[in-house]
């Protein structure tokens, strides 16, 4: 069993949903990122999505765009991000790390070199926002060769035929984008999420995480009642943006602990007793 499978199987036996934070590598600077990853695990997250900064983050809202710009001020490259993961792995062998980003830094490095170095650094999964399944056959083959899970997005507008296609390619978990829009928007509709998730479950046999637009404990908890994982990005990145360096770890830690608490307080799936 790889790290991602172990985490989800443990959570399943505990009847808990996974808490997945997103942070951008190198935001606010490269020294902070590894410390922040350790803080996140201490505060109870189950898996870390680590954003690879890119000059043109087309699917992101202003908050994550700015985090990318802060990281790029320090010229954080894909190689630097892999080095951060390797550094994190020296102290942590159990928390999965999933890289999330855009195609071009990977194109520039080349598929083969990237997957080899990612595997050596201890990366468990990769989500490339602008590699949809149609363009991903070769890419997925390279990832799977190195035992790295290809993570894919599904959206409210994904038709059933494509859900099946994603189901064939995806490993680890799939990431359901809970709204039409970019990261950080705030018009998530719980009713829609519920009905879409049950449609997805007809085809998807691996865990389903939900993200985009989850900003508070209440929503996190409601999503935890419906999904296998709750992904929180912009809200955490905002905390990083607004914190003084000295308070950053403590502030993010406190935020994540409160989210953890909210998620664990979800009503029981089957009996609906809190």
């Amino acid at each position: 069993m790889n790290r991602i499978e172990s985490v989800f199987s443990r959570l399943k036996s505990q009847d808990k949903a996974a808490l997945i934070p997103f942070i951008t590598a190198g935001d606010p600077d490269s020294a902070t990122t590894v410390a922040l990853m350790h803080q996140l695990t201490r505060s109870g997250v189950d898996l870390i999505e680590l954003g690879v900064p890119f000059s043109d983050p087309m699917a992101d809202g202003p908050t994550i765009q700015r985090s990318s710009e802060r990281a790029l001020k320090h010229h954080i490259s894909l190689k630097d991000v892999l080095a951060m993961v390797a550094q994190f792995r020296k102290m942590n062998q159990s928390t999965p790390v999933v890289l999330m980003g855009y195609a071009n830094p990977i194109e520039a490095m080349g598929y083969k070199r990237f997957v080899e170095e990612a595997s050596r650094s201890g990366v468990d999964g990769v989500l490339v926002v602008d590699y949809p399944p149609e363009e991903s056959a070769e890419w997925v083959r390279h990832l799977k060769d190195q035992g790295i899970d290809p993570i894919f997005l599904l959206s409210p507008t994904t038709p059933e035929s494509r859900v099946k296609h994603v189901a064939e390619l995806a490993k680890g978990y799939v990431y359901y984008v809970s709204l039409k829009g970019v990261t950080g928007a705030s018009h998530l509709d719980l009713q829609d999420v519920s009905s879409k998730l049950s449609q997805l479950r007809a085809h998807i046999r691996i865990p389903i995480g939900v993200g985009f637009g989850i900003r508070d404990e209440q929503t996190a908890r409601s999503i935890a009642e419906r999904a296998d994982a709750v992904v929180i990005g912009s809200r955490i990145v905002e905390e990083i943006e607004h914190s003084q360096a000295a308070d950053l770890l403590a502030n993010v830690g406190a935020l994540v602990e409160s989210l953890r608490h909210a998620i664990d307080a979800r009503s029981n799936h089957s009996s609906d007793i809190g």
């Binding site: 000059s55 195609a103 599904l154 409210p156 507008t157 039409k180």
Partner: protein, 399 residues
């Protein structure tokens, strides 16, 4: 060459093109593909498109023999395809008319567009007014400053111009922002991309609408000169005016096709936009193509005196035409383009856009190396009124 039938079903030109976008956009693009596939074969749609091009845009645009300038250069004859005479002053309107007609048939009430020089923004605002649609134009805040007159033109036409403050604050960032708007408002919104870039079907669809340029040229050349030109020359930003001229000629291998990129302050400096001449393949804005990027795959800020060529990518079909050798790509500096701008003003009484001046400058280099009976057909993609402030500034004059 075997029959040219690119792109394939998924929008690939060899290894280039494709649909590299986030999941949220896929269904919108699928729908657009389906609708476009239907209407490109629909006689009623095509009839309306050509009627609009004739009565609203003012087509066909003539081919004009720049005789005095050709004599002065002392070589091949330079012919100009006069896209500058189109309504709104550039080739951009051919595409916006086509896409607006499609948007109407798809029941969309709101159109959005990105713009660099403002020409595509103006062309979009124009058709939105013509067809009674809401129009929002995204424009990098740097470009808003550089192209103040066009910003005002768009506002007069009833469009909302939204300055984009992210990234390098230019065309590529405006495109990012327009994509974000589209993802969020996909229900009622149609995104008119202004060049042959972006995800499939845009590079193909914009090419098809712009191909009116080359189709007219073939007929006009035959009628007026009894033969086709020896070479076609067009500037390349995203590549829409160039592909519009080239596409109908791809099968005619004795006609050279030359795309002219912006060398800015020189291709050995960091300040240029010569994507095909200096770049490497990668993925940006929904397709695989040549890009100006650093060794880590970050997109680098580009520079050109002409905002319309100031783009770090290029249409995927040009990437393919370069790799297979069917078209040649060269670069012209700011200074060379300016000299051509002034030359055309003085020798022919035509004020070209700074974008088009790049194509003219290369023609001025090539013509003297050729015989007097050879013909160069240059795409005069737009007129230069919008550039007067920039040109004046170069001469130390403020208007």
């Amino acid at each position: 060459m075997k029959m040219y039938d690119l792109p394939d079903k998924r929008g690939h030109f060899g290894p280039y093109g494709g649909t590299f976008v986030a999941e949220t956009l896929i269904s919108a693009l699928d729908e657009l593909c389906k609708q476009y596939e239907y209407y490109r074969g629909d006689a009623e749609f095509q009839t309306e498109f050509f009627r609009e091009l004739k009565h609203y845009v003012g087509r066909p645009s003539p081919i004009y023999h720049a005789r005095r300038w050709s004599d002065h250069l002392g070589g091949a004859q330079i012919l100009l395809k006069r896209e500058d005479l189109n309504h709104t002053g550039a080739h951009k309107i051919n595409n916006t008319v086509g896409q607006a007609l499609l948007a109407r048939r798809m029941g969309k009430s709101r159109i959005i567009a990105e713009t660099g020089a403002g020409q595509h923004g103006v062309a979009s605002a124009t058709v939105a007014a013509r067809y009674g649609m809401e129009c929002v134009v995204y424009m990098g805040s740097e470009d808003v400053k550089r192209q103040a007159t066009n910003v005002y033109r768009m506002k007069l036409l009833g469009a909302t111009v939204i300055p984009v403050d992210s990234g390098s604050r230019t065309l590529k960032d405006a495109l990012n922002e327009a994509m974000r708007d589209w993802v969020t408002n996909v229900g009622n919104t149609y995104y008119i991309i202004g060049t042959v870039a972006g995800p499939h079907p845009y590079p193909m669809m914009v090419r098809d609408f712009q191909a009116v340029i080359g189709n007219e040229a073939r007929q006009q050349m035959q009628e007026e000169y009894g033969r086709q030109p020896d070479a076609l020359i067009a500037c390349v930003g995203g590549g829409s005016n160039a592909i519009g001229l080239f596409y109908p000629y791809i099968g005619e291998e004795n006609v050279r096709m030359i795309g002219v990129e912006a060398a800015g302050k020189g291709i050995d400096t960091q300040k240029h936009a010569a994507t095909l001449v200096t770049g490497r393949p990668g993925v940006l804005h929904g397709n695989r193509t040549y890009l100006i990027q650093d060794e880590n795959g970050q997109i680098i800020e580009t520079h050109s005196i002409s905002a319309g060529l100031d783009y770090p990518g290029v249409g995927p079909e040009h990437a393919w035409l370069k790799d297979c050798g069917r078209a040649e790509y060269v670069a012209i500096t700011d200074g060379e383009a300016l000299a051509a701008f002034h030359a055309l003003c003085r020798f022919e009484g035509i004020m070209p856009a700074l974008e088009s001046s790049h194509a003219l400058a290369y023609a001025a280099k090539l013509a003297p190396t050729l015989r007097k009976d050879q013909l160069l057909l240059v795409n005069l993609s737009g007129r230069g009124d919008k550039d007067m402030a920039t040109v004046a500034q170069q001469s130390g004059i403020s208007l």
